[in-house]
């Protein structure tokens, strides 16, 4: 009797455990009955998701669908999409993808071919922003949010140094402003020191202004070049005027005037006529007399459809809807930044949000981060060495030499 | 000189204090005095202990004997009165400066030290020279018979051996006063008897003042030079074992000392022709001369009394009208005697009948009638109201 009971217990436990695991066919069951389908969106939390959420109710009503939105941080978004990509039946129908992940995702077939689904990009979209959306001639992603690096600054501190938004020309000017602020007892340049990705990204505009880049046209690493070293030395001088802070602290510092300048993104801060801070697009010159380069780095948030989505047709309609020029223009009021001329150069909009002209310029001449599948490992390695250099653990030469050899190994393998 | 004088010692536990107290003190059956200050655990304790005397504090659980001992040791604060050791008032002196040593009921040995280290510890603390330490430790070990255990740890020893180590740790100090708090209570009966004998032998080799606490009256009787019987925090009687046995000061002492317990009867004290006699049922016994003298000196009036006669002093008689009688409840064959439990005169009575006298019966079936009597020299008389001995 007791034996029977014991074996029954054991069996029940084993069975209950197997019941836990079977998730494959359970996720996207909803909606097969035609009535009230559900579309699942996985987006980047913040302004980026908020503006999409605003557009959803109209779509939901017209197509009689329900849209569920998941908002995640950048690294969670990346792993969220990646982890779901290995399932036969995907949980998501629309995903927001950072341009720098595109190579890795398309190489491994994570995204659906939008051209095959009948979508194409029109001419209103700023051409420079579309280069990463194509693999050969097929469209895989649509540029939704025009994120591009800008230089944030505190108006009062800049004025005190004798400059204003229009007169900041070169990196030397920026250094001068920050040094003056430091002499005044404030902090000069604030950068993000938490994490390799942030370290690298904040540095890229500076690197570009010196004519350098992390890879050459064959995607081989060029972190050991003369230009890179010059940029690095300048950067060390610049950050010596301030300190490292996390994103929220950085924004707050510049806003309150405790800090003076820092690399930022339009989505972080919306300047108005009486806000204490503002941003400009970098001109791309290192000194007053040197060559001007394209120095603004794209961080464009694109939208695409996972290859394993179970609702591709409906998702395509949603994507088309969200990318519609009129719909995109309507998001500007809530902080959206479309990659469209019709939105960014609209006179009505420019009246209220004059900085969009700056953003438009930046988007026209922006530079994408290297489109390589190994970008994640690339910036991890480079960022680690930059961290060492910044904190004095290695010299510039030593750190960059180590980075170069490691990256060569990475790109070769 | 290691005289210990306790003068009007008092111990009160204030009401709000909920410190960890010894288990015995929380006995709900206590009738300790409760005042505004708190619970009075010990009161009006007066005792002069002579140098090298062996004093035993004895009484039931919660009577305050351990508390008194701990006050002498310095482990409890003295609420009132004075304590003198060797002529010096030590109420506020720390335990380690009183030159006393204590043996605990649960031995309190240091578990991680060997026996030798345990015994050497107090000497090491006092910075005694190494060879002196070794000499004393080995001497104590030899006295207590634990030399072969010197390098063992306490957990490798039996209860009796541990107790000896505890005693050893106390005697190496060569203290003025040696305090022992129920040291034999944790041992089994046979071992207890053995250790009792050892303690008496030990006493002969260690010449110091002993204060010994126990709840066992046998230990008290066999070990003490003088016994202090306590109840509810109050001293009932102080005297030598013989004194308290022969002349118990009150009913409590009478019932506490002596095994088996004294038999008590409701009787009458009568006085005829100037002679005191005790009348119980049909028996009237004239008291001995010594008792006559005591009673007349105290001018005791005749009247109802409580008569106490020890079981060994009750005499079995044959069936006779003018004897006391009772019905048998239980009879215990003890080997050399039979303990007969009777129900007589509304009391439980025990009679001890030696088996070596051929005229004595050996079988006392349940319900059978037994006749007995007492004599005038072994009768104890107590006032039914005050419970005090009428002769003292």
């Amino acid at each position: 009797m007791k034996k029977l009971f014991a074996s029954f217990l054991a069996l029940t436990t084993a069975v209950s455990l197997t019941a836990c695991g079977g998730g494959d066919s359970q996720t996207a069951q909803s909606g097969d009955d035609g009535q009230g389908e559900t579309l699942n969106l996985i987006l980047r939390a913040g302004t980026y998701a908020d503006v999409i959420k605003e557009c959803l109710p109209a779509f939901e009503e017209e197509h009689n669908v329900k849209c569920e939105v998941q908002e995640l941080s950048e690294s969670d978004l990346y792993s969220g999409i990646a982890l779901d990509a290995i399932n036969a039946d995907g949980s998501y129908d629309l995903c927001m993808v950072d341009g720098s992940w595109m190579a890795e995702f398309t190489e491994n077939g994570v995204l659906a071919n939008l051209s095959e689904l009948g979508y194409s990009l029109d001419d209103d979209i700023i051409p420079a922003t579309t280069s990463i959306c194509y693999v050969d001639d097929d469209v895989y992603l649509a540029p939704y949010y025009g994120n591009v690096t800008v230089m944030m600054f505190n108006k009062a501190n800049v004025e005190a140094a004798g400059y204003d938004a229009s007169s900041i020309e070169s990196l030397d000017d920026i250094l001068e402003i920050c040094q003056k602020a430091q002499a005044d007892g404030k902090k000069g340049f604030i950068y993000r020191g938490d994490g390799q990705n942030n370290l690298v990204v904040d540095f890229l505009p500076i690197l570009l202004s010196y004519g350098g880049w992390v890879v050459d046209e064959n995607n081989q690493p060029t972190v050991n070049t003369e230009e890179f070293k010059n940029a690095m030395n300048y950067y060390l001088e610049l950050i010596a005027t301030g300190e490292a802070q996390v994103k929220d602290d950085l924004i707050a510092s510049i806003d309150t005037g405790a800090g003076t300048m820092g690399v930022g993104w339009p989505g972080w801060y919306t300047p108005t006529a009486d806000s204490t801070a503002d941003y400009i697009a970098l001109k791309g010159t290192a000194t007053d007399s040197s060559e001007a380069y394209n120095a603004n780095v794209y961080g464009i948030w694109t939208i695409g459809i996972p290859a394993n989505s179970q609702n591709k047709e409906l998702a395509t309609e949603l994507l088309t809807y969200l990318m519609d020029p009129a719909v995109q223009k309507s998001t500007v009021a809530s902080g959206g930044v479309p990659c469209r001329y019709s939105s960014l150069q609209d006179p009505e909009i420019l009246k209220t949000y004059p900085q969009y002209e700056v953003v438009c310029q930046a988007l026209e001449s922006g530079v994408y981060r290297p489109v390589i599948a190994e970008w994640t490992q690339f910036y991890t390695t480079l960022g680690t060495e930059m961290d060492n250099i910044i904190n004095g653990v290695k010299t510039v030469d030593q750190g960059l030499a180590d980075a170069q050899s490691q990256l060569e190994e990475l790109m070769a393998g | 000189m290691a005289q210990v004088i306790l003068k009007n010692i008092k111990k009160v536990y204030p009401h709000h204090e909920s410190k960890k107290k010894k288990k015995g003190a929380e006995d709900k059956q206590l009738s300790l005095q409760v005042t505004d200050e708190g619970v009075v655990a010990v009161q009006a304790f007066d005792l002069d202990i002579q140098d090298k005397e062996f004093i035993v504090l004895v009484g039931p659980s919660g009577c305050g004997k351990s508390t008194t001992l701990r006050m002498v040791a310095g482990l409890e604060d003295i609420s009132g009165g004075d304590l003198y050791i060797d002529g010096q008032r030590v109420n506020d002196v720390a335990p380690k400066d009183r030159d006393i040593a204590m043996v605990f009921q649960n031995y309190a040995l240091y578990p991680h030290m060997s026996v030798r280290e345990n015994m050497a510890f107090p000497l090491k603390l006092r910075k005694v020279a190494k060879d002196e330490i070794n000499r004393r430790v080995e001497q104590a070990a030899e006295i207590l018979g634990i030399t072969q255990y010197l390098d063992r740890k306490p957990k490798a020893l039996s209860g009796g051996q541990r107790q000896r180590v505890a005693i050893g740790r106390a005697i190496v100090r060569e203290p003025k006063v040696l305090l022992m708090d129920e040291p034999l209570s944790n041992l089994d009966a046979k071992l207890r008897n053995q250790m009792r004998a050892e303690l008496i032998k030990l006493r002969q080799r260690i010449n110091t003042t002993f204060i010994y606490v126990t709840h066992d009256q046998t230990e008290a009787m066999t070990l003490g030079d003088r016994i202090v019987i306590m109840k509810d925090g109050v001293i009932q009687q102080i005297g030598t074992p013989q004194q308290v046995f022969d002349h118990p000061a009150n009913l409590f002492v009478a019932g506490f000392i002596g095994m088996p317990q004294m038999n008590l009867f409701d009787a009458q004290l009568v006085c005829e022709d100037g002679q005191y006699a005790v009348k119980l049922d049909r028996v009237q016994v004239v008291l001995s001369d010594a008792k006559q003298e005591n009673l007349s000196r105290k001018q005791v009036k005749p009247g109802p009394i409580i008569l106490g006669v020890r079981p060994e002093h009750l005499q079995l008689t044959g069936e006779a009208e003018q004897m006391l009688h009772g019905t048998v409840e239980v009879s215990e064959m003890m080997g050399s005697a039979v303990h007969v439990h009777l129900h007589a005169y509304n009391r439980d009575t025990i009679l001890i009948v030696p088996t070596d006298k051929p005229e004595n019966p050996v079988s006392f079936p349940y319900g059978s009638k037994v006749c007995f009597t007492f004599n005038g020299s072994t009768a104890h008389l107590f006032d039914p109201d005050t419970q005090k001995n009428l002769e003292l």
């Binding site: 961290d387 | 009921q105 030290m113």
Partner: protein, 297 residues
């Protein structure tokens, strides 16, 4: 004969009953522990990358993951960081926890209230603790810097300064875990027989001597257990590091788990990550083997 048969039947029955009683546990252990462990071990010998696996199956690369791991100077640094952190954290936790336990044990009143209050940091979720401390130590609106400034003491950019980041992690972990040590040792202190203290007092021991000769020897086992538990736990430190410093600045706070997260998990190189997990398991086993051996004896 019959008797023997009956006895052996009873014997077999007892054994069978015992087996069937522990079979649920065995099932759970096999599925939840043994299987994932073997899986991880298997993957550690391949170059499995989650996304690349969609197009190209993972290849068997034998010990390459392990050699890469062990020769990577950053991994070696993370091992050193972890060891440094573990030693410092455990020492401080034990000292503080023990001191507090002694103090609370000696209180006459309010022991229960103190016990509850002191335990609170340990009950909080780690994420809450990390974020609260980050807020307090923020260079902008953090209360710590404000107080230091008013007192005229130097302020630091606590988590981004290579001089202070490591110390801060130790501080926060000690703050959260010392209550655990306190609780364990407090319980152990309660079981020390009062009479030993009294015997020591009579023997003439001062307070310090009583501490070393009576208190500590009696709670030796609890001290050892506590140290072991805290060592194992500190060794695996991840959430505080990840939330507060991400391993920086300059890899100075990167623990083994943080390193694995950066190089093995977020880059989706699960093969490499598995190798790291195996290495870490072996290290933790070595650490606790000393205690396990003694416990089995």
């Amino acid at each position: 004969m019959r008797r023997n048969k009956q006895l052996s039947n009873a014997d077999v029955q007892t054994r069978r009953f015992g087996l069937s009683m522990i079979s649920p546990t065995i099932v759970v252990l096999l599925i939840m522990t043994a299987y994932p462990l073997l899986f991880t071990l298997f993957y550690s010998f391949t170059d499995y990358n989650l996304l690349r696996n969609l197009r190209q199956p993972a290849e068997f690369i034998a010990l390459k993951n392990y050699t890469d791991l062990l020769t990577d100077p950053y991994f070696q640094q993370s091992i050193w960081n972890t060891v440094k952190f573990t030693i410092l954290a455990v020492i401080f936790e034990m000292l503080i926890g023990f001191a507090v336990a002694l103090f609370v044990n000696s209180l006459r009143r309010g022991q229960k209230a103190m016990r509850t209050l002191l335990l609170l940091p340990y009950l909080l979720p780690t994420v809450t603790v990390a974020l609260s401390w980050r807020m307090m130590l923020s260079p902008n609106y953090g209360i710590v810097n404000q107080v230091l400034q008013t007192l005229g003491l130097p302020v630091f950019n606590w988590f981004s300064d290579i001089k202070t980041a490591f110390g801060m992690l130790v501080l926060i972990d000690v703050w959260q875990s010392a209550p655990f040590v306190f609780l364990l040792l407090y319980a152990a202190l309660q079981s020390v027989p009062q009479s030993q203290y009294e015997a020591a007092r009579i023997d003439g021991a001062s307070r310090i001597k009583i501490l070393f000769y009576v208190t500590i020897p009696n709670i030796k086992n609890s001290l050892a257990l506590c140290a072991l538990l805290r060592t194992i736990d500190s060794f695996r430190l991840f959430d505080k590091v990840n939330l507060l410093t991400g391993g920086g600045p300059a890899n100075s706070t990167s623990t083994i788990t943080q390193y694995l997260y950066n190089y093995g998990i977020s880059s989706l190189d699960f093969g490499f990550g598995s190798a790291g997990a195996i290495v870490m398991t072996i290290l933790v086993l070595i650490l606790s083997s000393v205690y396990i051996k003694r416990a089995i004896q």
